[in-house]
């Protein structure tokens, strides 16, 4: 596959974004965006098959480098790389993205700014694909930022809602904090190795040893941790997870695309891509522990939420934590496997939620839903397939991927295993709770829900099939090509994982099965969980206050600088007038120039004085001259 063809994969959506940015008609814009995405999908599948065909043992990364910027001796390259990791990610992103684009066509049909929506979606897709394919850390970062901007635009799409605008800002700012660490990591990597290319025929960042230490730690370790900062921001790990639930303010396709399949996966992808650095630096345990804690805390909070999308958001955070655990204890294959399966079933769940919301007339509170099973059969079945995959019901795709994680954790790090297992238990519980709230009983809203149009349900069905079947299908190929091996599956692991999944469902049923839902209190949604463990409040009180204080200080400083500036201007003015009037006019003109002329005139007059016409004075002068001459000669001789 040539560089040009590879470059087309992110370029097609970029061009679509450019074209649709000025369009007004939503349907046409949607058409262009979908067409571009379709093209990218086809190319990505081709690339995927090619990368899958790469020989074992031979270096599987094929770099395509383009010289971009030359500063003195340093050359900064752009480039794309095609290896199994890239191939599988690109295929997944384009496929899921295509389905979501089609779903959005139905969902956003009545929105007046539909064309702009597709423009932003295409931009996002372009950034995401560029990020995946990038061989240069700089290009990766640039696409990372594009993805961040696009997500801001998409989350705050309904900008007449102040919550949406605030959510978009929050997402951007929190991920920015992570990006700072990422940038410093890039700079440090560049300084240490002199290159920003990941694979460069043996000279790339990921291929050479990072020499030296930074503050006493191995450089590779520091760089990997800094990169993990960026990943933590984008993937919503503790403590930078606070933007993810608020991002649910955006339209549902956005939630599906960004928070299920792609953007949040970018962080996991970055860790997977930079795995050599993590291994070299020995920092995988940080990744695993952060992931484990995130999984646990998010799962707890999900128990207390009432908004259908918010539950799913916290679920995403929790699953991302599990992915990080997978990467940390098991390696690229294990983490990426769960990423793959999660992409499909989470997208399915979000799109399903969107369909439900649409069907329940834009209602999002689960307490006001109920009895959806009866009215929206297709959506409900698809949603339940997704739920099964999420709770790792045996033989779903989620079961296989989570099983691998638990197995690796059992082998590598026992405490993490128990944490992950407990998180999985909680996952089953809150998902059961949600399903019972939504699907069972009589409808508690005003109007009966209605099924969504085909354009929305067909993608759901496709995703449902994938959610169920992908696990079995993809297991062997994934583990064949990606680095990292499957841990041996001990009996204990299998028992625990099955017990956790089924047990969770059971517990959920016990708590919520028979009750009258919606009225009265929710037994598990206690205050701390409902209030998201007060993370936002904590941040506002500490960091928020600090920032306000700094803003005040800087404003005062600004005033001071303005004052200084005024002083300087006044001083300059005084100086210039002094020089102009005093210096120029008085000194030069009067004293020097006119004065000089006058002096010359006086000198001239003085010189004419001896010519008096007075003979005696002439004679005297001659006498004096003779004396002077004689003295001169006398002294000289």
């Amino acid at each position: 596959m040539s560089t040009e063809t590879l470059a087309l994969i992110p370029l097609l959506p970029l061009v679509a974004a450019a074209i649709t940015s000025g369009m007004q008609c939503g349907r046409r814009a949607a058409g262009i965006a979908v067409a571009a995405m379709l093209g990218s999908c086809v190319l990505a599948l081709m690339a995927f098959s090619e990368s899958w065909g790469m020989a074992e043992g031979v270096h599987m990364h094929e770099p395509f480098n383009i010289e971009w910027l030359t500063i003195g001796d340093t050359v900064i390259n752009f480039g794309f790389v095609l290896d199994p990791l890239t191939g599988v990610m690109a295929a997944m992103v384009t496929f899921v993205g295509l389905l979501i684009f089609i779903f959005s066509f139905g969902y956003m049909k009545d929105d007046p700014r539909m064309a702009r929506f597709f423009c932003y979606l295409s931009l996002f897709a372009a950034g995401m694909l560029g990020l995946i394919l990038a061989n240069s850390l700089l290009l990766l970062f640039m696409c990372w930022e594009i993805v961040g901007v696009a997500s801001y635009l998409l989350i705050s799409f309904w900008n007449h809602k102040p919550e949406a605008a605030a959510a978009g800002k929050k997402a951007f700012i929190v991920t920015r904090i992570g990006d700072m660490g990422f940038l410093i990591g890039i700079l440090l990597a560049f300084k240490t190795t002199g290159t920003l290319m990941l694979y460069d025929g043996g000279a790339g960042l990921l291929e050479t040893e990072m020499a030296g230490t930074v503050f006493g730690f191995k450089t590779a370790a520091v760089v990997s941790l800094l990169l993990f900062c960026g990943a933590a921001g984008k993937s919503g790990q503790l403590p930078l997870h606070v933007w993810l639930p608020d991002a649910m303010e955006g339209p549902t396709p956005v939630s599906a695309l960004i928070h299920a399949a792609t953007m949040v996966a970018a962080g996991v992808f970055l860790v997977a891509r930079a795995m050599p650095l993590f291994v070299d630096g020995g920092t995988l345990w940080v990744v695993a522990w952060v992931g484990a804690l995130t999984a646990l805390v998010a799962a707890f909070i999900a128990l207390g939420q009432y908004d259908i999308k918010r539950i799913l958001a916290y679920s995403t955070v929790s699953q991302l934590g599990l992915m990080m655990v997978g990467l940390g204890v098991g390696g690229v294959a294990i983490g990426m496997f769960h990423l793959l399966t999660h992409a499909f079933f989470k997208a399915l769940l979000f799109l399903g939620a969107g369909s439900i919301i649409h069907g329940c007339h834009e209602e999002q509170d689960i307490r006001k839903m109920g009895g959806v099973w009866k009215s929206m059969r297709v959506t409900s079945i698809a949603y339940l397939c997704g739920t099964a995959a999420l709770v790792a019901f045996p033989f779903t795709s989620g079961f296989f991927s989570k099983d691998e994680i638990l197995a690796s954790a059992w082998a590598a790090n026992r405490p993490i295993f128990w944490i992950a297992a407990f998180a999985s238990l909680l996952t089953a519980i809150y998902m059961t709770r949600q399903c019972l709230y939504v699907f069972t009983g009589a409808h508690r809203g005003e109007h009966e829900p209605h099924e969504s149009p085909k354009v929305m349900t067909v993608p759901l069905i496709i995703l449902a099939v994938a959610a169920l079947g992908l696990g079995a299908l993809a297991h062997e190929p994934v583990f064949g090509k990606l680095p990292g091996s499957a841990a041996p599956h001990g009996t204990i692991v299998i028992v625990v994982s099955v017990a956790v999944a089924l047990g969770g469902i059971l517990i959920g049923w016990l708590f919520y099965g028979g009750r009258k839902l919606g009225e009265g209190t929710d037994p598990l949604a206690v205050a701390p969980l409902r209030e998201k463990l007060w993370f936002d409040e904590l941040y506002a009180a500490t960091v928020g206050r600090l920032w306000n204080l700094m803003a005040i200080i800087w404003e005062q400083l600004n005033e001071l600088l303005l004052f200084v500036r005024d002083m300087v201007v006044a001083l300059a003015r005084a100086l210039s007038s002094a020089v102009a009037i005093g210096g120029d006019r008085r000194f030069i003109d009067t004293f020097a120039f006119d004065g000089l002329c006058q002096k010359l005139r006086d000198c001239g007059w003085a010189v004419t004085r001896p010519q008096s016409g007075f003979l005696s004075s002439y004679l005297r002068l001659i006498a004096f001259g003779a004396v002077a001459l004689g003295l001169l000669l006398f002294w000289m001789i």
């Binding site: 005696s616 005297r620 004096f624 003779a626 004396v627 006398f634």
Partner: protein, 173 residues
Amino acid sequence: MTQEITFWVLAVIAVLGALVAVRRRNLIHGVFALMIFFAALAGLFLLLLAEFIAAVQILVYIGAVGILLLFAIMLTERVTGDNARDITSRGSFWGWVAALAVLVFLLLPAIQSADLPQTTEPYNPSVKALGQQMMNPYVVTLEVLALLLTAALIGAVAAAQGGEKNKEDADDA
């Protein structure tokens, strides 16, 4: 010994004569003092064994130049009475300074520093020898001098007569 005394007497007379000549307000007195000066100088020439020159000095200077000066004074100035004007000119102080400067800084140092020959035996030239020198080595000088005198004569007549001619013409017209 007598030579010394004679020398000094003649020197004093010469100096005094010159001083009176230049400082006297009355010009006729000044001219007479000048003549005494010339005479003293002639005496000095005699002492220095240049008798012919002494004679010529008396003849020319006292006889011709002095009389000429008298005539000039009488023609141009009123002799007595109102020489009330100050004889010294404006800034005469500087004139004194100049003259003294010349004496002190120029002439005397020259005399002091020169390597002067001492007294030799006297040599008494004859007039014949003088004539012979004039004719032989210095004949050109003699002829030029004659020319010079002729030119001076003509020039003096022309200069002095110029005014009379104009007056005559004016009267005629």
